[in-house]
Amino acid sequence: MTDPPGQGQPGDGPEESDAGLARERTALAWTRTAISFGAVGGAVLKANVVTGLIILAMAPFVWQLGRVSRGREGLPALGPARLFLITVSIIVVALICLAVAIFGKSAPGALR
């Protein structure tokens, strides 16, 4: 006897029953996260060049973590450490942005 649809399954749609597609969606989510890091780096670049470049450099690092999650050849399995690293990276970015916001020279009116 099979389980009724939607009970004990991750989703109802036919694409949800394929772990390969779930893996693909997760890979895309990692890519979007890496792009977000790039966007934050670009925004900070306007306020402070060095810190902006540091955050911008985190984007390929995050993208590489996503590749580890896909289990590409030759890459070690980091497990939960990947997500821990992302959390630590966001905290570092938030602290840098906090420092730039408090001590940095602002460009008032740029959004006027």
């Binding site: 893996r23 989510a29 966007a39 306020a47 939960p80 992302i86 970015v93 938030a94 942005c97 009116g109």
Partner: protein, 132 residues
């Protein structure tokens, strides 16, 4: 459970060594990971929004600290969301391994409460600045 033990339970090595229960369906694990990543992007968006308010908005007349009052809590909220997203990922993975019901998420509550508070502060700052 003491705070030090709770903190230790969140470290990656402790999570990896969590041998209780069985390995869940890969689709559940991927879904949990995607949820964590979605919250991480939300956290980054809040951080950059806070920075943009402080750095790029023109100053509010009559409220010299207005931009900092709005931007700094957003940056702090980004950091809080990132940490909470990780703890929720750990809790969800733990529940999935043991076949337990998924724990209730506090993240939407934190996000909506803080955004509402910041919206109220923004309205007050704008009113004061308009009155000047």
């Amino acid at each position: 459970m003491s705070w030090s033990r709770r903190l230790a339970a969140l470290l990656p090595r402790t999570v990896a060594e969590d041998s209780g229960g069985t390995e869940p369906d890969a689709r559940f694990t991927f879904a949990n990971e995607r949820t964590f990543l979605a919250w991480s992007r939300t956290a980054l968006a809040l951080v950059v929004a806070g920075l943009a308010i402080v750095q790029l908005l023109p100053p509010f007349p009559g409220v010299p600290v207005g931009r900092h009052l709005l931007g700094l809590p957003l940056i702090a909220l980004g950091a809080v969301l990132a940490v909470t997203a990780y703890t929720e990922w750990v809790r969800n993975q733990h529940a999935l391994r043991r076949g337990e019901p998924m724990p209730r998420s506090v993240l939407p509550w934190i996000l909506s409460a803080t955004v509402t508070l910041i919206a109220i502060i923004a309205a007050v700052v704008l009113l004061i600045s308009a009155a000047r």
